[in-house]
Symmetry: C2
């Protein structure tokens, strides 16, 4: 945990009037817990971070003692918390959990007070345990936003992990470009190695390439040609045969310890004029945003929403509908410009207009910038998405790939 | 949802004194939600299952209407629930969630009453929303065990998915056997294709093979030689060079829509006598358990714990320590015999002695049987694990692979 994260916890606790943050989890891969414990293997654990004190890790299974020690956190052991006893003696799992939590609070020097509750888990069990604690004088309020804010700015170790995942993602994208570049058009269809080239073939190749980097795709990916790519949430059908002269949106968002997120759009052959024009508009948006991110250093606070605002202005000037000028539009520019990325695919900073402190772009933030243009009637979509680290020296693009529609130019 | 699942929900609601089950989730892949909605893509949704009525699905994002419709459930749309309005007008996400939940309850014909709460999600937000509902007269108790019980017995669609994942897992295991069989011993190390064969090489090959089946490993795998495999939770170190005449535990538990789980143990060369003896003992356990599962049909209820009991008797007779005769032992047979598997890697039926209805083996259950023997001092571990469906015609082994230690015999 870096000082920035510790400070964010303390500020958040102050705002909520709480004495401590409690982060529960069923796995060290749960986003809130992950940012506290690092890339270890823990299945039953929680963190208590009392205001102004280092966070402590309670692990509940003696077998996980080595993993718990590897976190470097102050530990509350299952022996001290008498975990086995409570699960044996108390009538329900909720009662046992409440008992162990109250003992952990006590070990941290806390008396019944207000606690911010965060983490992911079995909501029924945790709610019941929280109600039991409330009957003993504790108050539990939502610490979900606090925990998300605490992991907004990435530390060096998290950044290194993010770079590694982004590198694997870029390799998979290059592999897609290679296959497309090697394909041939015959009677309106693309062929590769004696077979019609289908979405499923590219998806398989992406999965294999990412697996070689030890990356997974827990929320899948988007490989969406023409009419499918014209709807941003359509992930593309495996059996769809690819055609020359059509758009193909490839959006990859695999996870290692952290997530990466990158999109490119291809067109084998000659892009229709509206697609080529949209491509030009998006390149201008990316340039403009890059300039704004580079200008961030000189003392002015920059809000993520201001980037969305700038993108909408540019695209409006190019004749496209945008969410700010035409709310609810399904054609033109139809979504937000980006999002934070890390332990969740979408996390802080927030690009929403209504965002508070979580909408501020700060050094250490990891974001994506993903302008896109869609035309369901004409049947095309295009999106270009980079992952960018806001470093002390300026923005660093983690997904350094060509933007060309033509895979042969890659 | 099959009739069995509907019936389990109604029985559970009756036991808890509740009028409805509420299952929240942040993804259709969350285990409780998954069993209700099927393999669709939903990010913001919940299910309300009032007693004696079909469950209804509330989805919160208009973009997910097609996915929601694909579940075949009665739908509560974001328009009916006025989702956008509450997230705009109410001060916090918790307040908006509470409002939408109470509207959904109302649409189901419910008045303030006792509700069983299940599902996985942001515990802080859900607890806060539940507290808001409680101030309006609702009572929320834990429905975690109820939801788990409702997905204990698998339906045909779930079984087909499980078979597919098990087949991919078996292929990955055969691939490991192939590489080991092709390796050569030189000066106490295994070599393959001009390189020392390391754990990491096998792990890479497993990941590639599983990726080709569109399977992921959200909780990793275990590829643990000798001293590492002697501790059941040690997952094995990538850099470890494999040696002849030592044990190698390979435990794969990937996920498609459901999880699969399978373990084999290899020994390239000549197994030390204690390893060979342990192998013989485990084969006898597997035979005995198979006979017990085949005998299940004749009207007697069989408890999962009785299988653990039988395994301990056999292994005790062979001279090994067991959890029943030597609680806490770290050598010999040190864990339970199996577990249910499905939307979670470990789910019902429960093999614990203390289990209630969840400890009963029933038609439709999907279980693993995984006897193992460990000797940290001698530095070896061996575990053989099959995944078994308890079908109406008897047990069906989903992981039909050899048990041989010698990969050349595969």
């Amino acid at each position: 945990m870096i000082a920035a994260a510790r400070a964010a916890v303390d500020i958040g606790l102050e705002e909520l009037g709480c004495q401590a943050l409690l982060v529960v989890g069923s796995s060290a891969r749960d986003p809130d817990l992950a940012s506290f414990v690092g890339p270890v293997h823990l299945t039953q654990a929680f963190v208590v971070a009392p205001k102004g004190q280092p966070p402590r890790l309670a692990y509940l299974t003696p077998m996980e003692r080595d993993e718990a020690a590897a976190t470097g956190l102050v530990l509350l052991t299952p022996e001290v918390l008498e975990v086995t006893r409570w699960w044996r003696e108390l009538p329900t799992g909720e009662a046992a959990l409440a008992k162990v939590l109250s003992l952990a609070f006590e070990e941290c020097g806390l008396e019944p007070c207000r606690i911010a509750l965060a983490g992911q888990g079995e909501v029924g069990e945790v709610h019941a345990a929280a109600r039991a604690l409330e009957r003993q004088g504790w108050t539990l309020v939502s610490g979900a936003a606090l925990a998300r804010q605490a992991r907004k700015r990435k530390n060096d170790r998290q950044l290194r992990a993010a770079r590694r995942v982004a590198a694997g993602t870029a390799t998979a994208m290059r592999r897609v470009a290679e296959l497309l570049a090697a394909s041939e058009a015959r009677e309106g269809e693309l062929w590769l190695q004696g077979e019609r080239l289908k979405v499923g073939r590219l998806r398989m190749e992406v999965a294999r390439t990412l697996a070689a980097f030890d990356l997974e795709q827990p929320v899948g990916n988007i490989i969406a040609p023409a009419e499918e790519g014209a709807v941003p949430h359509n992930s593309g059908t495996d059996g769809r045969i690819l055609r020359p002269d059509e758009s193909l949106v490839v959006d990859l968002y695999p996870r290692g310890w952290l997530y990466a997120d990158c999109t490119r759009t291809f067109c084998v052959g000659r892009p229709p004029e509206p697609l080529a024009a949209a491509h030009g508009s998006l390149l201008r948006v990316l340039e403009r945003i890059d300039a704004k991110l580079r200008g961030r250093g000189d003392g002015k606070a920059l809000r993520a929403f201001s980037l969305q605002d700038a993108a909408c202005s540019l695209l409006k000037a190019d004749g496209y509908a945008t969410p700010l000028t035409d709310p609810g539009t399904e054609s033109g520019y139809v979504h937000n410009l980006g999002h934070g990325v890390g332990f969740e695919l979408h996390e802080y900073p927030s690009f929403r207009r209504e965002a508070g402190a979580e909408g501020l772009l700060e050094t250490g933030d990891l974001i994506t910038i993903e302008p896109g243009l869609y035309d369901p009637e004409a049947g095309f979509g295009i999106r270009l998405e980079d992952e960018i680290f806001l470093g002390p020296e300026g923005p660093e693009k983690l997904t350094d790939l060509p933007y060309d529609l033509d895979p042969r130019a890659w």
